[in-house]
Symmetry: C2
Subunit: 116 residues, 2 copies
Amino acid sequence: MKSVLFAATAVLFGISSANADVTLINAFEVPEGQRDATIDAWEQARAFLSQQPGYIDTALHGALAPDARFELVNIARWESPAAFQTAIAAMQEAGVFRPPEGVFANPALYTVIASD
Amino acid sequence: MKSVLFAATAVLFGISSANADVTLINAFEVPEGQRDATIDAWEQARAFLSQQPGYIDTALHGALAPDARFELVNIARWESPAAFQTAIAAMQEAGVFRPPEGVFANPALYTVIASD
């Protein structure tokens, strides 16, 4: 019962427990010449996903070295795995995100297991 | 001149500009049964690197799904690429970090190119 009350309170007041959050890390393999198109596609996805329940924030990282294996890495936080999966299913149904030709994504959910 | 003064001030007072920071993202491919050994090796590296100039912080992320391509992902912040490279060279010379058999690391430096 306590956890139900906490969940309801958290939803009402936008509180999210640091322990419950999950981190999406998505490392993109980007063929030469497709960087800008990938960033554009990511912006489309972000515009949709940021409106979904459970979204916290996101940051797209660009590699300093042009020959990095993963030229772009997205790091986003969600309130729970279920919230992320529901949002992704909604995005797929809406057909919002179309990765450019040859771009390969490696999305997975993580929790922090050790930090300062 | 202003930027030189700012840089000197930043060094003296430990201020780091969000724009100047770089993010290390290191996605580890971990063979079955090597997860704990990889975490141990990472802790050894962290103990050394956290004492080096320019270190800001680090967080090791563990995948929720056991079949994730990258079971562990380290995300660390450094004050500059030079600080990171100097620290890594020092660590290699000290022989502190020995990745377990079969573990493959993908370290690269990034800056945030788009965020909320």
